[in-house]
């Protein structure tokens, strides 16, 4: 059980506009990277396969395939270095952890898109 006082302490560092996305979404995560003096924003694109924890400890896992090799990065939701999470595509899924994607390769990795309007109708199989 988390004490009320600890929640109060964490409250100050929580993001006011918590990024909105769901499991299965394809997202662009904008990460602030400091190299010596310079600061730049890097974009990591991939599928959200898990969301864990709550409060300041909340994290999400993004998976993508680079050169035929699966790459996963875990981002804290409230980290100041996670500048922005932009949803590119919403995938339809029935579970909260998509670890089964790790066993899949090629076309099988794709998720059915969530029906959002007429234009998307053709995507539903």
């Amino acid at each position: 059980m988390v004490s009320e006082l600890i929640e109060k302490v964490e409250q100050k560092q929580l993001k006011k506009n918590k990024p909105q996305f769901d499991i299965g979404d394809t997202v662009d995560v904008h990460v602030r990277i400091v190299e010596g003096e310079k600061e730049r924003v890097q974009v990591f694109n991939g599928t959200v396969i898990a969301r864990k924890g709550y409060g300041i400890n909340e994290t999400f896992t993004v998976r993508r395939i680079v050169n035929n090799e699966g790459v996963e990065r875990i981002f804290p939701v409230h980290s100041p270095s996670v500048v922005k999470v932009a949803v590119k595509r919403s995938g339809y899924t029935r579970r909260s952890k998509l670890y089964f994607l790790r066993q899949r390769a090629g076309k099988a990795v794709r998720l059915r898109e969530v029906w959002t309007g007429k234009s998307d109708k053709k995507n539903i199989k």
Binding site: S3, L5, I6, V9, Q13, V34, N57, S79
Partner: protein, 215 residues
């Protein structure tokens, strides 16, 4: 002046520092502490402040304790400890000390009572390596091995050396952890956030004082 406060461990969490890097942090409720008594050179032979933390039920305390608190014009406290001072302290009995005294201080030492582990074996208590998992070891995987020999020079001679590390009660002792950096001070809620872990369980009583070695 010696800077010390009594407090209570609230729990641990993580906070981001100004570089955006996550840091492990212990939240401690420190004070407000009431000065129960000021000891001086003439009557007591040394100078110190007696601090009290957290109100106690009057019916649960003994009469001398209630009387002692009345002398300082306060209520009975649950946790009372003394801190030595260099020279006669300026404070009067009944005054309150808050986390404000830690302003401008970077590092603190924290004293607490560790979690009790019960009767623990040598591997847990002293970090022994135990016996091999295989190669003929039977039912002695977590044993200490030999504890002495009959030779007077190499071993112990008759009997076993004093202080030989063996199994026994572990934990529930007073421990000091040093040089915790102060991450944040919250005057409103009497909180002090320090980096790293401190001894004891949540809601355990702690003494927090200015670091003896690090500035």
């Amino acid at each position: 002046m010696t800077v010390m406060l009594l407090g209570k461990k609230i729990g641990m969490t993580q906070l981001y520092n100004d570089k955006g890097v996550i840091e492990p942090v212990t939240v401690i409720q420190a004070g407000p502490c009431t000065i129960m008594q000021v000891k001086n050179q003439e009557t007591d032979g040394y100078t110190s402040l007696q601090l009290g933390y957290e109100d106690a039920k009057k019916s649960r305390r003994k009469k001398p304790q209630i009387g002692h608190a009345q002398k300082a014009n306060t209520t009975v406290k649950r946790f009372v400890r003394e801190v030595r001072t260099d020279g006669q302290p300026e404070q009067e009995p009944g005054e309150e000390l808050t986390v404000k005294i830690f302003e401008g201080i970077n590092y603190v030492d924290v004293i607490g009572t560790t979690k009790g582990k019960g009767f623990a074996g040598v591997m847990k208590r002293h970090g022994f390596k135990g016996m091999p998992a295989s190669h003929g070891t039977e039912r002695k995987h977590r044993h200490p091995g030999g504890i002495g020999s009959n030779s007077g020079s190499a071993g112990t001679g008759r009997g076993i050396r004093k202080g030989k590390k063996m199994a026994g009660h572990m934990g529930c002792t007073r421990k000091t952890t040093r040089n915790h950096r102060i991450v944040e001070i919250d005057e409103e809620n009497n909180l002090i956030m320090v980096r790293g872990s401190v001894p004891g369980a949540c809601n355990g009583y702690l003494m927090i004082q200015k670091s003896k070695t690090k500035q």
